[in-house]
Symmetry: C2
């Protein structure tokens, strides 16, 4: 039974790696769309979200079948349940990248943000690009060290997120009201991508080590 | 085995009813906090979120134990997996209500929104209060008719959400930049509460009937 579990779980793991790669591409694509603005990049992210949704459905179906046929217990059960939740997290990250791309498409050919916001959003995007790349490595290698880097670094993104409000409230801001609305929404989507990246990293730590870092009281805030 | 499953699942169902009631209280409390502004109501929502988080942990633990000890299949398995996802949805609704309460606390004693936004946010809140009440009935009675009302009505909230942007862009708007930021965030939190309510309703339909309304292609957008 154990052999079958590992074989079938390997298939699920392959799909999860594909999901991580698709989410990573969506994040970098959304950034390219936003900072261009680049309509083709936006369109690719919007269309690519369906692939992420389909991968989630496939992972759920496989996990439910695995639970039904093999009745895993202990570590195996923990892996299956955590994988279900990890797939939901990746699916949500795809939605958020799509929201960014949709905002770009709405305002195109104008950029959704005024020039004075470009540098700050580039910094946020640089952060997310690094996180996206780490997510792929983490999933491919089940690397908890990389997962821990994602968890530890998140407050950098939170600080950048706060700076978007500071910019909008400052005299430097010359954007329109619509750009103010877009700034708040886009910054929120990017910050949520970071939160979900942390959530994904925690689930991988839990899958690999059995230790659940989300049970650390100081880290319980607003992850999912 | 089936008897034990039903007994243990009854305990989980009780916790889920408690979760629905706590989420409902958080939603109405957040509205009271916002439209007062009422600091005590805000504080109660912020503190109450921990109870929702604990209920989610308890539901997850019970479901995992149930999977390990009883290896449910078919309908029983579907109920357990859907319950796990429903608990995650409720937990996220608690977070969103807390975010609204935190925004109220930040700006108190000033209201976070200018007077011209009051009526529109009251309309959104009336919608959410009705949804909150329906969530409780739906969970207590496993009532798919009520669940379907939640699903069908959601576009009303989406229209109100769009109107918040229209208001901010119109000449009627006299709020500050900070109030503009808060309007965008608060409206987003409320719209997300509606989305998650729909997600919860769909899961209950699935649990009760075995038919998954989220597989309807036209409804696939942005639910979780």
């Amino acid at each position: 039974m154990r052999v079958i579990f590992n074989e079938e779980m390997r298939q699920v793991a392959d799909d999860m790696e594909q999901m991580a790669a698709a989410v990573s591409a969506a994040i970098t694509g959304a950034g390219k769309a936003l900072l261009g603005p680049d309509l083709d990049a936006a369109q690719a992210v919007i269309e690519g979200d369906q692939v992420i949704d389909q991968l989630e459905s496939s992972v759920i179906d496989q996990c439910v079948q695995l639970l039904a046929k093999q009745s895993p217990v202990a570590t195996d059960l923990r892996i299956v349940v955590s994988t279900l939740r990890l797939a939901a997290t990746f699916e949500r990250m795809g939605d958020l990248a799509r929201h960014i791309a949709e905002a770009v498409r709405r305002s195109y050919p104008d950029p959704p943000l005024p020039p004075e916001a470009h540098e700050l959003f580039q910094d946020m995007q640089d952060f997310l690009d690094q996180m996206a790349s780490r997510l792929v490595t983490m999933m491919a290698d089940r690397d908890t060290k990389v997962a821990e880097c994602i968890i530890v670094d998140d407050d950098k993104l939170d600080k950048l997120h706060q700076q978007t409000f500071d910019l909008a409230l400052s005299d430097k801001w010359e954007g329109s009201k619509q750009q103010m609305i877009d700034l708040v929404l886009l910054a929120r989507f990017m910050e949520r991508l970071g939160d979900h990246g942390v959530s994904a990293a925690r689930r991988v730590v839990y899958i690999v080590s059995g230790f659940d870092p989300s049970k650390d009281p100081k880290d319980l805030e607003d992850i999912d």
